[in-house]
Symmetry: C2
Subunit: 427 residues, 2 copies
């Protein structure tokens, strides 16, 4: 039997074990601050796979003062990160397998047909919060590693397994792992892509704009300046900026995406009395960042665009729109489409799935942005979950997809890590 | 001496008494729920002027179920209305002298240079909350009546003096007085017009609109419908409705007013997450009502306009913008510009002030709307206060203006009430 066949058969033989593992993972309600339980399990599983495990609660100046650090908290007591390292025999390529262990809150319970942490198995699916985003992906990685171990398939390069906290809140977990030196030659992140391969990921940043007006009585509005009306001019300018930014994007990976890097206005708030002319409007939104630009360049263009409002409008010249960056920010992530890890992943996908994979750019950011921008580790996002189910009630994962993903990852990791460095780093 | 000279001299002789009365009135902090003190004083003053006084706390089904009733409360215990009636000798015209006794809260105390209820007299001005809006006006009326009594000038028609609560909160005090039958052939309301004569008053009503969208992730906004973007279409439609409604207004009283009946958008609120496509926007505002239309007609036109959004826009057809009327509503008020009370007031203004009065339409509503629409009592708004000081810190009233206003009102009331009915109601 070939190695591919061996791995395939191993997967088939162990699928009931996978169901058990998925159940266990989902039954750990690892929302923010509640990650410890699943992390202890992950540590145990990694140790069983002969990984050297580092489990720590991220903290410290280097982390919280880092320009890429975003979090509502500065201490992560009770929320450990887990990284396992399995050293290779030498001269191979290293790989980072990155998965976040935090899940978003379950939301309105009345929308759930069953307990959000039931881990119920039904019709080939495991149900529950985090099943798709992204415990199914983490299980696929762990299962891939277990197959490699059980089949005695050894690697020349190192495997670095990240089980991180805080992805849903800005990526402090992956950043902490990077700052501890847990990077590699390339990374795979099995976020829910519905088995599509995403070599590029849109980044994003949140903005806040304050648009000023001048109050007056609503019976004599011409004595004031209505900030809600002025805000319309700002919204039109943002649409125009979105058009300009997206017109520049010619990467074929985005060819199926109507607006590759959208500017989404998510919140508007202004005025406090129907009979008064409002003197302030707040606008909050999310600006997409192209994988081909830096966060700084995107910010600069945005800033200049807002400034330009004053050139066309006397009011804005005297009362400039105020711009703030706040809250979340995800770095765009990318890997060259002809990167050898892309070729290996694609060819293993074809072998396992019997068809060509869909290769696209991701419309949302992942920790791959941090790995790329801060960790110098080009990243591919590819996973078994279903994008549209993430963050919604009645989230589920298809066990078969996890199994297929595990098989693809096992073969890819084996081939990548045994690719010799030939004396120099691949770049 | 002529009667005009007698009244003029009486005013000059009694100006220090007026200052004392103004001080006393301002020192009563008659915010909502705290009107009783000043009402007891008003009752006493009216009784000294030989008025039959009715003091009562408004209540009852007829009031609170009345279509014109607007108030946050249904009982006015502790907030008495006062109406004084002085019967004439017969066959004259009756007059309502209407003033509200409630004042708006003092707001941020740090904006006041002195205690808001100090009643300080300085440089010919009395300072304090309510001085301009409208205790100065009430004092002018009481002083006019006192002059008439002291000078033994008697009337054929009745004088009905309203000292009402709740004007600042929807007019329940005046409505209660009307429902008790305290109406007349015409009314004068000395709200702060800066001595301008307002034969017409803009009415207004508050509206609330809900604009729907469809949520989606901010990275893929094209999968949703942004309610903030849809709200822009609604705002544009409101501007257009404002234009259409104001183009119809040809009354020369509005000739100096840029937008006679504005549609003011005062509040906007939508979305709750920068990275999500918002699915709901709330818009609140105030729609001016022309003195030449009914509230119902204005509502109907507004409603139809909102409905028409669906004709041009598929989204609005499937997800109609929801319209609500809420909170405040002021009836428009008016009197014919060639009404004999207008002629009397104008000619007495000219005699006292030595110049032609400015005659305009008021950009805001008063209880004159209720008197006109519900009480069948055409109303003129004319008073000594300064419009722009109302509701602001460091509000004041000029004593000289109160004195001049009292002199004008005394002569006007005398002439109007002694105008014979000649067997039929003037109309």
């Amino acid at each position: 039997m070939t190695r591919n066949e061996l791995i395939h058969n191993w997967m088939i033989d162990h699928q009931w074990k996978l169901i058990g593992m998925l159940k266990t993972m989902v039954q750990e309600p690892s929302t923010q601050m509640n990650e410890a339980g699943i992390q202890y399990l992950t540590k145990k599983w990694l140790q069983e796979l002969d990984f050297e495990v580092d489990m720590w609660e991220p903290r410290g100046e280097e982390l919280v003062k880092h320009e890429a650090f975003i979090s509502a908290r500065e201490s992560f007591v009770g929320s450990p990160n887990v990284v396992g390292v399995k050293k290779g025999k030498g001269n191979g390529h290293s790989i980072v397998l990155n998965g976040h262990i935090d899940v978003v809150p379950e939301g309105d319970l009345t929308n759930w047909e069953e307990d959000p942490y039931s881990g119920t198995y039904k019709d080939g699916k495991i149900y529950g919060r985090g099943s798709t985003d992204m415990k199914g992906g983490n299980a696929a990685m762990l299962f891939a590693l277990k197959a490699l171990k059980d089949l005695d398939l050894s690697m020349k390069g190192d495997i670095i397994f990240h089980s991180v906290i805080e992805e849903e809140s800005g990526g402090a977990g992956t950043l902490a792992a990077i700052l501890k030196g847990y990077t590699g030659d390339a990374a795979i992140i099995p976020e829910p892509t519905k088995m599509k391969i995403f070599p590029k990921q849109q980044g994003s940043m949140w903005f806040r704009l304050y648009v000023k007006g001048a109050s007056a009585h609503g019976g004599t509005p011409y004595e004031g300046v209505n900030a809600i009306e002025k805000a319309q001019t700002v919204l039109i300018a943002l649409k125009e900026l979105e058009r300009v930014r997206n017109n520049r994007i010619t990467d074929p990976l985005f060819s199926k995406v109507p607006i590759p890097i959208p500017i989404n206005v998510g919140v508007i708030e202004g005025g406090d009395w129907p009979s008064s002319v409002p003197d302030l409007v707040k606008i909050e939104g999310r600006c997409g960042i192209s994988p081909d630009e830096t966060v700084e360049a995107a910010k600069e263009e945005f800033r200049e665009w807002v400034k330009k409002l004053g050139e066309k409008d006397d009011w804005f010249q005297k009362h400039p729109v105020k711009l703030e960056w706040f809250g979340a920010r995800w770095f765009p992530g990318s890997i060259e489409t002809d990167h050898p890890l892309m070729s290996l992943l694609t060819s293993n996908f074809e072998k396992v799935m019997g068809k060509t994979p869909e290769v696209e750019a991701a419309p949302w950011g992942t920790d791959g942005g941090l790995l790329t921008a801060v960790g110098n580790t080009p990243s591919i996002v590819f996973g078994p979950g279903i994008t549209n189910l993430a963050h919604y009630a009645n989230e589920y994962i298809e066990v078969e997809k996890v199994l297929q993903c595990a098989e693809i990852i096992a073969n890819t990791v084996y081939e990548w890590c045994n690719r010799e460095k030939e004396g120099r780093e691949w770049s």
